[in-house]
Symmetry: D2
């Protein structure tokens, strides 16, 4: 993700863009090849070519050599073993948490590491993410996913139950995507720096209610509970309309600050 080169090199993550509907993200490996159902891309043929080049393969098929975005990588290459967070929720979680480069963040659970990836991305180069997870199989998935991005240095994965306590002190944010976040609030109260933020993501209204009531009980301030809906549009000249499938529900976000 870091040193962006202008030309394709061994080990890069590359977006092979055939068309709007046919595109693949893969790792460039010298001496190997990538197979689609209708053509083959020999990596040695593209190493050294500048990104943005449109290449005509031996099969006659054309492919654009493109650089994948963080979003492309996370939502295409990451293995999912759990429900994952989506950009619509991650975006406002990041803003409400107040984090940025240099922040110290506690997260639980790691899940498949989707949110972890974004947290690590934004706290670079001098911040850190402490990611708690009680299920070892998920922790392995999260670690494997994060390694694709080269962001592992910014994360400490902990096979540990956050409802038993938080080890880190003076953290800037505690961000929870887990089923009983109310059990963590008393620890967050003590381990957050003054003004630090608490964020919880939950799928049901009952959990939302419970989290808010527990935050009030612990005197958190600026408590907000909300949900984010994103509506996608299908644009065509004179025929623009929302996509038919509509807005899916994912969950509710609760944000608050330690007083």
């Amino acid at each position: 993700m870091n040193a962006l080169t202008k030309a394709v090199k061994d080990g890069d993550l590359i977006l092979l863009y055939f068309s709007k509907r046919e595109k693949y993200i893969t790792k460039v490996k010298s001496g190997e090849a990538f197979y689609t159902y209708k053509t083959v891309v020999n990596f040695d043929d593209i190493i050294g070519l500048p990104y943005g080049t449109k290449v005509r393969l031996k099969s006659g098929v054309e492919v654009m050599l493109s650089r994948p975005s963080l979003e492309d990588i996370v939502y295409t290459l990451f293995i999912r073993k759990t429900q994952v967070l989506y950009p619509k929720d991650i975006g406002l979680i990041i803003i409400k948490s107040g984090i940025g480069p240099g922040s110290r963040v506690v997260e639980a659970g790691s899940g498949s590491g989707f949110l972890t990836a974004y947290l690590a991305h934004f706290v670079r180069p001098n911040g850190h993410v402490y990611s708690y997870e009680v299920r070892p199989e998920f922790l392995e998935i999260a670690k494997r996913n994060i390694s694709i991005l080269g962001l592992s240095d910014f994360i400490t994965f902990k096979l540990q139950d956050i409802t038993k306590g938080i080890d880190e002190d003076e953290v800037d944010a505690v961000i929870l995507d887990m089923s009983s976040p109310w059990n963590v609030i008393k620890y967050a109260r003590n381990k957050l720096r003054h003004g630090g933020s608490f964020i919880s993501f939950v799928p049901t209204v009952n959990q939302m209610e419970k989290v808010v009531l527990e935050l009030r009980h612990h005197s958190f301030i600026e408590i907000e509970a909300f949900e984010v809906m994103v509506r996608n549009y299908k644009v065509a000249m004179g025929e623009t309309r929302p996509v038919s499938v509509g807005m899916p529900h994912t969950g509710y976000i609760i944000s608050a600050h330690r007083p």
Copy 2:
């Protein structure tokens, strides 16, 4: 925003938290005082006290010394001379743009500097924001607002019409909150790095349509058009419901990548 101290010191931005409904953000100035309609806070009385302290003032009123978040500062202290972007839209703009620490971003127009502040916050410490604005009076407001945050080093403000061209090369993202974004797409096409992202925020559906059609004309890929709605909840034990006022409309976001 950067070196967070544990104790209040001269020059800090402080959140004087009297109650949920009465709170003020101000700059601590030795020798001076802050007046509310019912009490006075002499800064010399609080300098040196740790953040999180609850102070009983001479008037008998209690105040919590708290540290404001980036959001508190931007949405409370920034002067507004234009329509401004809100967290719900800024969050997904940041995610869709793919930017982060180290990114080079072109933005137009600067407006009142609300989005500029968030962009600068996230590209720190080694990225940069180039912010174009044609109206000198807004540029001054944006500069003044940004100076409150101490983020001015990460931004170059340019009194320049972006529909005439973009000076910077190989930028990671071009982000537009202006009335005729379609006039900038041909420049963005050339000045974005390969895989770089284009983002436009517009209030009307007709503008959304026009931006998408122009992006297609210039062969941008992964074009998406959407809007973000946030629904706030009023939580009470057994009486939880969305707030009555509902979800306001702000605008549509279009995102795309240079192929």
Copy 3:
């Protein structure tokens, strides 16, 4: 509402339409006049004129003689002493209840009579609405409101607590806009005809949950819980967008059928 005449006559409800923003609904009374802040309309001057006529008053001001719709009358002339139901919710309540001309409907509480008016409107000419209300002051308001429409013959108002029982048998629908609808479900179970429908409108998610669970307990079928949101648009050539104020929350609707 019934015998629509082509010309204005004494006793008609009339819509005096001055402009989009200035319009009044009033009852035509021979010998009297209607005063606005800038002109006066003598009813005797307009009696006998066809609806649709644009009249120039002595003051020089022009007014269109128009016929108000049911919605105009209910939402303009009805006195509100309670929260009232809005068209967005009434529309789907009517559809989900399955009622129509000839239906027998039990309603509680009468409130200000807004829903009652629509129920009576749709069950005409051979159906009937039984409207329960425990607060005498609201019952009087509801009666007064309904009398404006001339629909009183289709409604029996009952100063009675529906949580103590329902008098009517074999009703087509029981429709509740009250705070403890779960207390009525056991009666609705017995007094609805087979296939008859139960509808409840509640403001909070907790009430929605409680109603659904109680309906399941009493073996109701085809239980649905939903909310209706309406988004209004501000249309202008090339500048069309949702209105800024957004979509207000009113409440949740639960519908079910007696098996």
Copy 4:
């Protein structure tokens, strides 16, 4: 739909309710049977039984004899050859149109007759629906669908292009679900009674804009443009949440009155 009997009789539409997920609507025919994949229902065995009876079939399977609602019949038994309108939109169209028992309504196009069915249902017993359709194959479907409900007497189907003119005079409402509703506005202007309502349902924002501008051009009043969204909830004790699939988009509704 009309004379509701307490016992099942030959020719009735019946809802055979096996479980929440397995239910069928069919016509009771003496001497015949209804087959599901696991049992058979001989109609002669159930004729004469009261609705609401739970019958144990020879196969040992139990079935509840229930009466289908109008919605059950329309959305289960009607053949669909076109996009159809859904309850969420029909509900508010009915309310905004101001129609009710006795109204004279012009509709176009007939489509598959879903909206036609509801219009006929609500204008009974002394109103009438004039339904225009230019495609003979759809008109046949609509007629066939409506005949199931026994509402054919309240509808005149016309194989006629409404963009060429409206035959009826002094109609209470003109309701359009067709692709170029703006071509009908000039006729609606003349054929609606004073105060009569115009309603148009369109899938795209561009059509919505065009309809509103044309209505303004013809001096219609009280013009509103909106869309209806319905959000369904999955209710469980302590685990209540919106359904994941979210709110689908169907179209925009424009309503207005003839001045």
